[in-house]
């Protein structure tokens, strides 16, 4: 029976570590195991080093690290079957929610966007990650692992980008663009150039690559790369010209009617509301005349959840509605203000699809009507 020295034990432990075994408990297990084998099988004056090297190589097929990898994979995939089940259930659920949501959308039934939201969330946050984890385990070559990983990343980013777009959340366009770029510039080249080398899969890879490029190309053709700067500038100028015209007309109308207090209140609320929308778009409430020089140009875009999230704005909108309704109740004929088919006839959440410029102009239009009504009141006097 061979007796191991402390130095030799340290040597074995260092070697186990150097061969990539990082789990401490596994290091201990293997160290004791090797020591036992040496103690039981090596003669007292045997050659430690060569016997050790022969023993350690019998532990693995390619590398000693296999043991640790197998341990980790056994520990991680304890829930393999549950994960697989969850993947199938979440996949089935998101497909059902997509089909249901689309049908609801066509029928204009309530709950359509809720179903689509759930479908995208389950697909991108549960199904795709699980699919990646389970698939990577089955994939033996690094090439397939990389392709699967890239595909998953592309899938998650683009579906979340779409979700952000629908929900009017920020960075939606960047996400969709990044997802598409990852798909076109990374996924397809890696897939194509690694797959084409294998004669067995060559034809399949070529056909699939063509289809991927078609899909990516179609999506890319939908992306708007135009520069909208001039359009935004023109819209800002149109709005400011309207504003100046309105203020001119307001200044010229004699303010001596019995309704002057009501007019003033309505105008005040309107200006406050416009101020909030402008602040949301440019950061400034009162736009100066030299707005172009100061780079205060509002980008045109859907107002989104602004009137739902911003309680001050929704309060002002309610106030405006109430004040005009109150004024209208005392009037008849030409001095009434037409609230139909304006922002006042829509609920805050219904406004989300209207552009910020549309809403601003609509409020100004109400104020124009007010000037007109004032005129007719003075004339009637």
């Amino acid at each position: 029976m061979y007796s191991l020295s402390n130095k030799q034990i340290d040597y074995i432990l260092d070697d186990i570590r150097a061969r990539g075994i990082e789990m401490q408990s596994l290091q201990g297990d293997l160290l004791d195991h090797i020591c036992c084998i040496i103690e039981h099988n090596l003669e007292e004056n045997g050659d430690f080093e060569s016997f050790y090297n022969k023993t350690i190589t019998s532990f693995y097929k390619k590398e000693l690290r296999e043991i640790e990898e197998e341990t980790i994979s056994l520990l991680t995939f304890k829930h393999y079957y549950q994960m697989k089940k969850l993947m199938i259930i979440s996949g089935g659920f998101s497909v059902a929610a997509f089909i249901g949501g689309s049908f609801f959308k066509i029928m204009h039934w309530p709950g359509a966007s809720m179903l689509l939201l759930l479908a995208i969330l389950t697909a991108s946050l549960i199904f795709l990650p699980l699919m990646f984890i389970l698939k990577v385990r089955e994939e033996s070559s690094t090439r397939d692992k990389i392709v699967t990983g890239l595909g998953t990343v592309f899938g998650i980013i683009s579906s979340l980008g779409t979700l952000f777009k629908i929900m009017h959340w920020p960075y939606a366009n960047i996400m969709m663009f990044a997802g598409l770029a990852a798909f076109m510039l990374l996924f397809i080249p890696v897939y194509f150039f690694t797959g084409i080398r294998n004669p067995e899969t060559k034809v399949n890879v070529i056909v699939s690559s063509v289809i991927y490029v078609l899909v990516g190309g179609l999506m890319f053709s939908l992306i708007d790369l135009r520069n909208h700067e001039t359009e935004h500038k023109m819209k800002m100028y149109a709005f400011m010209k309207n504003e100046n015209l309105l203020h001119n007309m307001q200044a010229n109308s004699t303010d001596s009617t019995s309704q002057s207090v009501a007019f003033e209140a309505i105008n005040k609320v309107s200006e406050d509301l416009k101020g909030l929308i402008l602040e949301n778009g440019t950061g400034v409430k009162n736009i100066p005349q030299d707005f172009e020089a100061k780079d205060l140009i509002m980008q045109e875009g859907q107002i989104g959840a602004f009137f739902v999230d911003n309680s001050a704005a929704s309060q002002l909108l309610t106030d405006l509605n109430a004040k005009i309704a109150q004024y209208n109740a005392t009037q008849n004929g030409a001095s009434k203000i037409d609230m139909e088919h304006s922002v006042l006839s829509l609920a805050p959440y219904e406004l989300r699809n209207y552009s910020n410029y549309f809403i601003l102009n609509n409020i100004s239009q109400l104020q124009f009507q007010l000037v007109n009504a004032q005129k007719s009141l003075v004339a009637a006097k």
Binding site: G28, L30, L31, K61, I67, E70, L74
Partner: protein
Amino acid sequence: MYKILMYLCVIIKIHIMIYTTELIKGTLKTIVLKQLADNSRMYGYEITQKVKELTFDKIQITEGALYPTLHALEEDGLVTTEVEYIGKRVRKYYRLSPTGKTKTEEKISEIADFIETLRFLLDIKPVVS
């Protein structure tokens, strides 16, 4: 004479046959659990030697299969561990937990049933002793 030699070869070959890892894989957990059930506490090397001895070298558990399995059993709560210092090195003993004991019985009866099914399915004649 030649025929007898052939038979002899076949018999010897069968006798020294070492089962492939694929065959052992599905039953390794149960084999390890059974050893622990019979010997209260054991360490890794001891388990491999015991199994080797009991099966006349036919089942040789590799280190690459044994330790991942032991760690998985520990994670599942079927075995508990205790460490003992032997000079500079640590020896880890594995012991069945109460849940491990019931699980062992379950696993063994499952395998017994499986063997019966295989016997029928593969049409294996019972060995007459």
